[in-house]
């Protein structure tokens, strides 16, 4: 790995940028929802306070493979999201590799799988119900997510992220971006697709048995997930080129705009049941995604 790859992994858009940015986006979401409900909302450093406090909590002592696995899942989520962030083509300077888009999709999916496994490993009945809900929801929204990514890849004729970045005149590109935006609430477990971690209903879903530092790692992974998913859309719509600092500022601005949009959706909707969520993705969004992809393939063969 060369120096620019290391900078991407550890500095921008990697961990040094993404951890504070993730906290900032989580605060932005809470604050925006609070303002929409005519509340004042939390202070800006609230996610940081929560994280540090969780690090200082004593956790229940567990032994055996279950204890190791419960610690492994959040760590694996954070690592895979750090990898996904390093792949994001914020500055498409040609250091990507052929097919890195497929790796990005896999790395973005790993936290969801870890979340499901955490629920089953915890042995809590609420964790298991939450894990089943997350698994079903993941199957539902990934159909649309993958079709959206493939639509963009077909219109640009490549899976290389550096070439996918930036806006395009092709309508297939924008339909793909719209498809990804439709999937983000389910991937971030926001309303109306928050059924897998439905608080007060199934306690905290798969995270019911988590405490202290491991729970803090989940919060961290959630923040990184925000940065990675909003960042993916931002790289697909932002024009390529220009000074790097203007590009970085635009990247954060567009991502934060998406955070506000998702907060508005989250504040305006109630929680869908699992069946409703699947119906939304398989009946409406999937039809749209299939139409987008078939038109993209048709356009490709015509040209």
């Amino acid at each position: 790995m060369n120096a620019s790859g290391l900078i991407q992994l550890f500095v921008f858009p990697g961990l040094l940028f993404a951890i504070p940015a993730g906290w900032f986006y989580i605060w932005g979401e809470h604050k925006a929802v609070a303002r929409m409900q005519q509340r004042i909302g939390p202070p800006m450093l609230q996610p940081f306070y929560d994280f540090v406090k969780l690090l200082g909590k004593r956790t229940p002592s567990r032994r055996g493979i279950e204890a190791d696995l419960l610690r492994l899942w959040p760590a694996l989520s954070v690592l895979s999201l750090a990898g996904a962030l390093a792949l994001l083509p914020v500055f498409p300077s040609g250091h990507g590799f052929s097919g890195d888009g497929i790796l990005l999709v896999a790395l973005l999916e790993l936290p969801s799988i870890c979340f499901i496994l955490a629920g089953f490993t915890s042995g809590s009945i609420y964790g298991e119900i939450g894990a089943i809900r997350e698994a079903v929801l993941s199957v539902a929204n990934n159909l649309v997510f993958l079709l959206a990514i493939v639509t963009i890849a077909v219109t640009e004729k490549t899976f290389r992220l550096g070439d996918l970045a930036g806006p395009s005149w092709n309508p297939g590109h924008w339909l793909g971006v719209f498809g990804i935006l439709l999937c983000i609430p389910a991937k971030l477990r926001l309303n109306p697709f928050s059924t897998s971690s439905a608080e007060q209903e199934i306690y905290s879903g798969p995270l019911t048995e988590y405490a202290g530092a491991a729970l803090g790692m989940w919060e961290l992974a959630h923040g990184l997930e925000w940065v990675a998913l909003t960042g993916l859309v931002a790289t697909l719509v932002l024009p390529v080129g220009g000074p790097w600092w203007i590009h970085a500022i635009l990247f954060v601005a567009v991502s934060f705009g998406e955070v506000l949009l998702l907060s508005a959706v989250s504040a305006a909707t109630a929680r869908f049941t699992l069946q409703r969520s699947i119906q939304f993705y398989w009946r409406w969004a999937a039809v749209l995604a299939v139409l987008a992809m078939s038109s993209a393939i048709y356009m490709r063969f015509r040209s």
Binding site: P42, Q46, K53, P60
Partner: protein
């Protein structure tokens, strides 16, 4: 106090997560506690957050006079909240059993079974008083830290 300890003190004070347990309350205090989350009182600006799982919580808010049926639940949930933790007794019932005192099915007051840090009296208490009580409990929690004797003790 070192910088790290000061930071931890501040973070604990600024981020008290609650778990609410009803031990046979008439629902009056529960309604007043939920009122605190509403736009009028908005406790989220103090970092207060009502959690679904006792494992995530720092402060245990208990309402009700502790009936015989709920006694074991009180002890279990108290042991499930991770250290450092604080207990807030909301309303007159957990403090004195209120009008239920002397009943054969009441095992209260709460302090007979678990240590209570803050009492918020009233039947039901005003939301302002509840917020004040939780803020005091957060202060106690922050200065308490993790007790030495609790280290290594398995929790239920």
């Amino acid at each position: 106090m070192s910088i790290l300890k000061q930071l931890m003190h501040k973070c604990r004070r600024k981020s008290p997560w609650l778990f609410h347990l009803n031990t046979g309350s008439c629902n009056g205090c529960d309604i007043e506690l939920v009122t605190c989350l509403s736009p009028r009182y908005d406790v989220e600006q103090l970092g207060i957050h009502l959690e679904g799982s006792p494992r995530h919580a720092d402060i245990l808010c208990i309402t009700g006079p502790v009936t015989r049926n709920t006694l074991e639940a009180v002890k279990t949930v108290y042991s499930q909240v991770c250290e450092p933790k604080a207990v807030v007794a909301l309303g007159s019932c957990p403090a004195s059993c209120n009008v239920f005192a002397g009943s054969p099915v009441i095992e209260g007051p709460l302090s007979k079974h678990i240590p209570v840090d803050v009492y918020v009296p009233g039947c039901p208490p005003h939301p302002d008083a509840i917020i004040n009580g939780i803020a005091r409990a957060a202060e106690i929690l922050a200065s308490r830290g993790v007790p030495e004797k609790a280290k290594g003790e398995p929790q239920k």
